[in-house]
Subunit: 412 residues, 2 copies
């Protein structure tokens, strides 16, 4: 992931100007009263012609009904519509939950006059409460009526739960002489952790690409973006990232290793990176985004374990919040998570200022310089173990009073 | 560990009345200005005759100088004195730190006129700052002058850092017709996690027991007490638990498997349990003590991983703080930490109220009952996976606004 400290909504540095229109896609979002506050909570994405599709889903062994259903259906590689609700996760809801997820797809397919098997479904929100199917049954024909090419931002809006801002990014660029558009939208905030999160993300494109290529692009992209972000160490029952490509751009099918593939990959993955960072920036109660880079570890696996331990440590996260130059907590967390650590080899830097050299303070002057970096909204902590070539980067947030406030009373 | 919800300081239910005097032990604690607030910060324990000794130390691969030194010295099985400072951990201080730890022992041995090799040393406090040796050099003769049989509570006081209350417990009981006393004192609060913590604990007894017996009693006791407590998931560079036995009670040497051994074991381990629970109750910003019991896991190892994941989850801990009946977060954390989880087999109870049965809500009525349990200062969460016989218990605290306040600005 590249570093970025972008503004809160869509970013002019990566998104094309104008509206996020993707040829062949229509979308809409409306409030149907699942959320208590009358905010938008039902969204629909439709592709015509049917899109080739790839998806990745939560690794949590507790999976919501919509994840189980969509994961099974996407094996066909085909998708015409995605129906999404927020405010209720339809997780831990047993057989009834599965029937409700099926019903959401069936109602959508009937309202659209398309094959039920090509409709996918996502839900996000409170766990363990049955979906209010009466509201959804009434809502689906309504959201279908509202479908429009300009409706993509409505989806980004309707999928929010505790998100403070909508997360939307898109780009229009040439591929083999044709204009291709990719639009991405996501929601995140709480339960953000490796192996996905209470996180939904949808990438829509008119590029022409075989399903195998889409699957590979999605898998590698997610590994380097959504799976490297961390807010609080738990990953959810509902995480879903979908990539839909309807081929309307008319480019020759993308093939791995070609310049066209590389151009498309680069744009798609930078949009994924951008949306993943938006999720961290919007982490519940987050006031800072911190890149944690571990290098010089015996193996990448060691580096990954250390990086996540640092990213999950409440002691480390509160020190970021307090803008507190407390490198001792970082060294402790490293030693805690890697038995092969040699304490007199550890270096720790905040951005380019090395505050720990050989396991000891690099001096008061350096600590003063680092204190200024800690006041930035975004910075990088680098831990070098000087033991090998293993490295790993995680992007995380701090732990604030607001996090505690938000999470002490989310459900009741 | 047994459940207990005891008052904040020494507990009449386990401690004998009167002062914690242990024949043959003298102790003292004084302020020497390492801590900024003139609180007591230098402590000394002396045994005459020399005590047989066992110790367990942090598993963090970053270890403080006093831990490295004391761990090496205790192999002899003999200890005459322990010198302890708070306010500075003497960790990440390089060669100088090691020389300073040696000097603390040497100064103590000279002031007492005893063999330097039988003096152990502990430090706790800020990491990465050299010890103020001028203050310690002046302080050691002073603390020696203050030594008294009644000084054990002064040690419990002097070892505090962010602790809100002193942790001291003792018991006098018969062993083979002799009266034996065991006194324990501890400090904890932050960085409390498995494999020890920023935690110091000392157990003093006049029992007569071979070193091998002491080592076994300490290892098994720590495994079931201090290693099962958790405040914030990081374990420190300085953790130390020592058991000193000077034999003055004159009982026949304790031997495993005898009733006398069992009587002694039972008292020692219950004091360890009591002090460990005091540490959790005093966890930084802690408002609740929660026992997390995982059972029905495929293996004990699985149960342990799940229990610690729950105990470390900021989402779970903030829900305890908010007295929020959010069992979804518990189920999510279980699924996150154990890939073998079968979601439709999970049961979750708060004390005796089952709120999740077969992965789903057991009904609104049960949730209302559990909400009342959440308001207690102490309760138990039981997760049953119904997969096997693996089980594990962890005792943890909640995550409060005060935790964030304390930890956002501990060092600077």
């Amino acid at each position: 992931m590249s570093r970025s400290t972008r503004a809160h909504t869509r970013s002019p540095t990566s998104s094309s100007t104008g509206a996020p229109l993707v040829p062949g896609f229509q979308a809409a979002g409306i409030p149907i009263g699942i959320k208590p506050n009358r905010a938008s909570d039902l969204a629909l994405i439709v592709s015509s012609p049917p899109a080739r599709a790839a998806g990745v889903f939560t690794k949590n062994s507790v999976k919501s009904a919509p994840v189980l259903l969509s994961r099974a259906r996407i094996r066909s590689g085909l998708c015409q519509a995605v129906i999404i609700n927020s405010g209720n996760a339809n997780a831990c809801t047993g057989d009834r939950g599965f029937r409700d997820a099926m019903a959401m797809c069936r109602l959508t397919s009937r309202a659209l006059g398309i094959d039920e098997g090509t409709v996918l479904v996502s839900s996000t929100g409170v766990i363990g409460v049955p979906l209010p199917m009466d509201k959804i049954r009434k809502g689906i024909p309504e959201v279908v009526r509202r479908l429009a090419a300009t409706g993509i931002p409505e989806v980004a809006e309707a999928i929010r739960t505790t998100d403070r801002f909508t997360k939307l990014a898109w780009k229009r660029f040439p591929v083999d002489g044709r204009t291709v558009t990719v639009a991405g939208m996501a929601k995140g905030a709480g339960m953000i952790c490796p192996q996905m999160a209470t996180m939904l993300a949808y990438f829509l494109t008119d590029a022409n690409a075989p399903v195998a290529v889409l699957r590979d692009l999605l898998r590698t992209g997610v590994a380097n973006s959504f799976n490297r972000i961390n807010v609080d160490g738990d990953s959810s029952t509902n995480d879903t990232v979908l990539l839909l490509a309807n081929g309307l751009a008319g480019n020759p099918p993308l093939r791995q290793g070609t310049p066209s593939f590389e151009a498309f990959r680069s744009v798609l993955h930078s949009l994924m990176d951008e949306l993943a960072r938006m999720i961290v920036r919007d982490g519940e109660g987050s006031t800072k985004t911190v890149d944690i880079l571990v290098r010089g570890a015996p193996t990448d696996r060691d580096a990954r374990r250390i990086a996540y331990h640092l990213a999950n440590s409440t002691l480390v996260k509160t020190s970021f919040y307090g803008e507190d130059m407390n490198w001792g907590r970082i060294v402790v967390a490293v030693g805690c998570s890697c038995p092969r650590t040699e304490q007199d080899k550890i270096d720790v830097s905040y951005d380019d200022v090395k505050v720990v050299k050989g396991g000891m303070s690099a001096g008061r002057l350096r600590e003063e310089q680092a204190r200024r970096i800690l006041k930035l909204p975004s910075f990088r902590v680098t831990v070098d173990l000087h033991l090998g070539k293993g490295h790993y980067l995680v992007v995380t947030s701090d732990l604030s009073h607001e996090y505690v406030t938000l999470n002490a009373s989310y459900r009741s």
